[in-house]
């Protein structure tokens, strides 16, 4: 499927974005509002077995209110994070509605537990639209919409020339998601 997508992409349209990825990443990721130090801390401090404290730290970084879910749903959520394997998103269907009603929150949990998943962000979605990839807006964690979002960022990562990949130790998905967010805001 990705081979087909690679052939269908208008690579010329991507070139201006690719030439600016390092600068755009710096702009977004190192903005004080993004709390880059805390992001880095989360990379090291969220690990298996996941605890509620770890998820609380992610909520704090995202600026979200704490989860209002039952003990059983907490367990369901943590089991989900242990079980899911990239690029699967269909496992979303196994979660209670309350857990999938906020795609930002769920995608952040996924990002810090399995770095190949990207954080859902509206500016990033707009950045993708500017490059010709229309991803519908949503608040809910729809497996197909979020799957398309993650898959598209992965595709862009594959197509990018090596000059985009500045020396960093953040996951490459974060590199492109952050650059796309800055691009989308312009």
């Amino acid at each position: 499927m990705q081979t087909l997508a690679l052939l269908a992409v208008d690579k010329e349209k991507l070139r201006p974005f690719f030439s600016r990825v390092p600068e755009l990443f710096e702009q977004h990721h190192h903005d004080s509002g993004q709390k880059p130090e805390m992001y880095e801390e989360l990379l090291y401090k969220v690990h298996r077995p996941y605890t509620n404290d770890m998820l609380d730290m992610i909520d704090d970084w995202m600026g979200l209110e704490r989860r209002n879910i039952s003990g059983e749903q907490e367990i369901m959520l943590r089991l989900f994070l242990l079980a899911i394997r990239y690029p699967d998103t269909l496992l979303f269907d196994s979660l209670d509605d309350i857990l999938v009603n906020d795609v930002r929150r769920l995608s952040a949990y996924l990002h810090f537990s399995s770095h190949t998943y990207t954080i859902w962000d509206n500016d990033t979605r707009k950045g993708l639209a500017k490059l010709g990839f229309e991803i519908p807006d949503t608040d809910k964690a729809d497996p197909f919409i979020y799957g398309a979002y993650v898959g598209t960022i992965e595709l862009i990562k594959d197509l990018a020339p090596f000059t985009c990949f500045l020396e960093h130790d953040v996951p490459r998905q974060r590199l492109f998601q952050a650059a796309l967010a800055a691009y989308g805001r312009e």
């Binding site: 690579k11 880095e40 801390e41 990379l43 090291y44 401090k45 690990h47 298996r48 404290d53 394997r85 990239y86 990018a160 020339p161 090596f162 985009c164 990949f165 500045l166 020396e167 960093h168 130790d169 953040v170 490459r172």
Partner: protein, 381 residues
């Protein structure tokens, strides 16, 4: 390649080489289960490779896509050597480092190191593919040798890749200093006149950026934690910088000059530079750019130090060199000639390079279990 190396048996194709590769993984103690979902793939970026030879005496002619298009046997030999050396370093680093996975300071560090090892193996896999696919029987023999030489036996082609990596401080130094040399070598090959080699470099360079980031960030986190004194850390920097500088090869290198003439290996800034290459000093030029980059990076790493700690620095490029015009000569870390006796020189070196006693102190005290010697090591409730 050395004529003394004997390949007992080799498979007649890449599929056969893959079987040997799997046996090599087991032999060096790398459990294939650690790979998880990771799959070794052959990756090319033909767009960035270009179609026309970019420099040297064949400049302007179409890049060579197959061995039969390469006009001279000595050019084939030069390419074979470069691909073999590159592949050799990739497998060597996995042999040097895989034992560290069991003692990673954090889960993320373990994952990062594992990813680096997977990608280094993929790079070696890619080089083996080039050898097997484009260079016939000779290439297949060289591909087999990639798995026969071993860092633990000291038989890898370059000195740094036979040195033991005993702990995580060495790992971060290795990824920061030696992988950075790797980035330079890959970029110099990314403009190669042999198109499959040039096209291999783009994907490898993408992956290498993470390796460098891991090294630089690891050192930064050690500095920020403030447990390992910086004058002690400086000794490890002194040790690794000279090793990294030596990897660029001899001064006034004729093989580098010939590689440039053939268009096989360019300058680090080949596409960016507006000046003609000084063909007699190619290694020196690349080494100079590497040295400048090290200095700039060390300023960033040193910024996180605690009050009262000395600033970390990159020692002079004359210090402790094994290759080039300063090889075997006595210079201080500041680049001044050392004037003392043999005994005083040994004493000086003992004070500025890690000794056995320093290694013990590092392992038993600074990096002892329970010590938060690197930032974000422990989970705090």
């Amino acid at each position: 390649m050395s004529t003394t190396e004997i390949v007992e048996k080799y498979h007649p194709n890449f599929e056969g080489w893959i079987q040997e590769f799997q046996e090599w993984q087991t032999r060096i103690g790398f459990d294939p289960a650690w790979l998880g979902d990771y799959r070794f793939e052959i990756r090319f970026d033909w767009d960035s490779a270009g179609d026309e030879i970019e420099f040297g005496d064949f400049s302007g002619m179409p890049k060579w896509k197959r061995r039969m298009q390469i006009p001279q046997q000595n050019i084939i030999d030069a390419i074979l050597t470069m691909v073999s050396v590159q592949g050799d370093t990739e497998f060597a680093s996995v042999e040097q480092q895989n034992h560290l996975l069991a003692t990673a300071p954090t889960e993320y560090d373990r994952k990062s190191a594992l990813r680096i090892m997977c990608e280094e193996q993929r790079h070696g896999w890619q080089m083996a593919y080039l050898l097997c696919t484009y260079f016939g029987e000779q290439g297949m023999r060289e591909a087999a040798k990639l798995l026969e030489r071993n860092a633990q036996d000291g038989t890898r082609l370059l000195g740094s890749f036979n040195a033991p990596i005993d702990h995580w401080l060495d790992f971060f130094c290795f990824t920061h200093f030696i992988d950075r040399d790797g980035k330079f070598q890959l970029k110099m090959l990314s403009t190669s006149s042999f198109q499959p080699l040039a096209a291999s470099m783009g994907p490898m360079l993408k992956e290498e950026s993470f390796h460098l980031g891991t090294g630089a960030n690891g050192l930064r986190r050690i500095v920020k934690a403030g447990v390992i004194p910086l004058d002690f850390l400086q000794k490890y920097i002194n040790k690794w910088v000279s090793t990294g500088l030596d990897l660029f090869g001899t001064d006034e290198s004729t093989s580098a000059e010939w590689a440039y003439v053939y268009g096989v290996k360019g300058r680090y800034d080949e596409r960016e530079s507006e000046m003609d290459a000084d063909r007699e000093h190619l290694n020196e030029a690349s080494r100079g750019l590497y040295f400048d980059e090290l200095k700039a990076e060390m300023v960033r790493i040193s910024k996180g130090r605690k009050e009262g700690e000395p600033e970390l620095f990159i020692p002079s490029d004359k210090f402790n060199r094994g290759i080039g015009m300063y090889a075997g000569k006595r210079y201080t870390v500041k680049g001044d000639p050392f004037e003392g006796s043999d005994g005083e020189w040994e004493e000086y070196l003992a004070g500025i390079l890690p000794s056995d006693a320093d290694e013990k102190l590092l392992m038993n005290e600074y990096m002892a279990p329970g010590v938060e010697w690197i930032q974000y090591r422990e989970w705090r409730e």
